[in-house]
């Protein structure tokens, strides 16, 4: 596959500016509060957390570029034991602010105590799935991360409301990096690459990614919307 570096750079610059905007505004308020002698510990902690969590997302985004440009790097090492629940939980906390601004409730249901044999790039998978869920979800809806595990498997599903994906598009959006026609018709910016990169990371981990669009169809600003789920099944470490 030939690499379009210009496209990688354009998308990165766009996302870096969004993250930087949050970091700068939070840091600015924090500095002002401190200079004015404000001592509301909860507020100060919240602002510091905004900075940390946005920087965390920014790190994930940079790792994603490393993966896009040089994927061989990430498969050339032996996997290490990784708590996949921990990765999703951390990403979920980091996305809560963005979700809150968008009027989307972000929750995690269930738990998992098992580990998977993973590569450090797995850090980016929750980022990709949660970013996809939060950015398309209309105001007032919920995005839910569900965990379930058996002695051999760990299942995680991210369920949210998003532009209806036609049946014949489902395979294409994870295999070929194609954007669904209703997603393209919505006001949400996107490249269509998120889920195909998620699929690539799942393949690296011998995990199975599946997507489905289900439930009642309703119209949101002229675009048909429906429940959407991206689910991953991991092999659990013995």
């Amino acid at each position: 596959m030939s690499m379009d570096y210009r496209d990688v750079l354009d998308r990165l610059m766009h996302d870096m500016r969004s993250f930087n905007k949050i970091i700068k505004s939070s840091a600015e308020v924090l500095l002002r509060d401190i200079s004015e002698g404000k001592t509301d510990r909860r507020r100060i902690e919240g602002l510091a957390r905004d900075v940390y969590e946005t920087a965390f997302l920014l790190s994930n985004r940079l790792t994603l570029v490393d993966y896009e440009v040089n994927p061989a790097h990430f498969s050339s090492y032996k996997p290490i034991p990784i708590s996949i629940y921990g990765k999703f939980h951390k990403a979920l906390l980091a996305f809560r602010r963005q979700a809150g601004f968008a009027g989307v409730k972000l929750e995690i249901v269930g738990a998992s105590y098992g580990k998977i044999d993973g590569y450090p790039v797995i850090e980016v998978l929750p980022y990709l799935l949660l970013e996809n869920a939060v950015k398309y979800a209309p105001k007032g809806t919920e995005a839910i991360v569900r965990f379930a595990e058996t002695p051999r498997k760990i299942q995680v599903a991210v369920e949210s409301v998003g532009p209806l994906v036609e049946d014949d598009e489902l395979a294409l959006i994870i295999e070929n990096g194609v954007r669904g026609k209703n997603a393209a018709a919505s006001a949400v910016e996107g490249s269509g690459l998120g889920l195909s990169l998620a699929q690539s990371i799942c393949e690296l981990h011998r995990a199975k990614l599946s997507v489905r669009s289900f439930g009642n169809v309703f119209s949101n600003e002229g675009v048909p919307y429906r429940q959407f789920e991206a689910a991953v099944e991991f092999q659990r470490q013995p």
């Binding site: 920087a55 965390f56 790190s59 940079l62 790792t63 570029v65 490393d66 440009v69 040089n70 061989a72 790097h73 990430f74 050339s76 090492y77 032996k78 290490i80 034991p81 990784i82 708590s83 921990g86 951390k90 450090p120 850090e123």
Partner: protein, 227 residues
Amino acid sequence: MIKIIRSPKSLNDIKVARWSTESARALTKVAVIDDERLPLVESLLAHGFRIFEVGDIPNLDAVSEYGIIICDVRGVGKALNSRFEGAHLLKELRYRYPDKFLILCTGQRNKVEYQPYFTHADASIGKDADSDEWSELLDGALRRTLHPLDRWKAIRPKLLEEGLSAYDLFRVEQGYIDSVLSGSTKPIEEAVTRLESGVQSQLARNMLIGVTKLIAELAATKMIGAS
């Protein structure tokens, strides 16, 4: 003449009886080769890891006592005078220390032209990793570094490459297994001194000294040996 008077033991007989994250963290020294401070070093020290920031190194001997080596790319490996800097240093470290756990720590993971050098590391991590990622990776590295079976598997092919005969390798391996099972360095030491082919290579000698030292450390902390 080959004379075997007892049934050989299998590497599968090697088990680590007692293991705790705390003792593993306290046992292994971790070197950081970087011309800048490692971010979060205080946090890692607070987690109980034994981190030593050694800066750029003048030669490969400078990190002989460390089980895990973290290596940056930019601004290190100057003694080797290579345009690939720390990436080239990684390659040399791997040749010299086949059983040490090498961690590439860099913001250059997207450099495709460096990739042939990067593959000499056992793992890689971004410069902006947080303390969770660091401890996850270092604990994984400790599991490999302190596991007698993994360590032996890493050096065995290298010993053959360095000229040890298959028979001598077998005898050293039996001594190694006996040492791990008994928690005593005596069997491996005896096996090494009785080698028929001798150990001509300094590299092979270093590797054998390294595994003998590992056994002594594991036995001292009761992580191997009869329970």
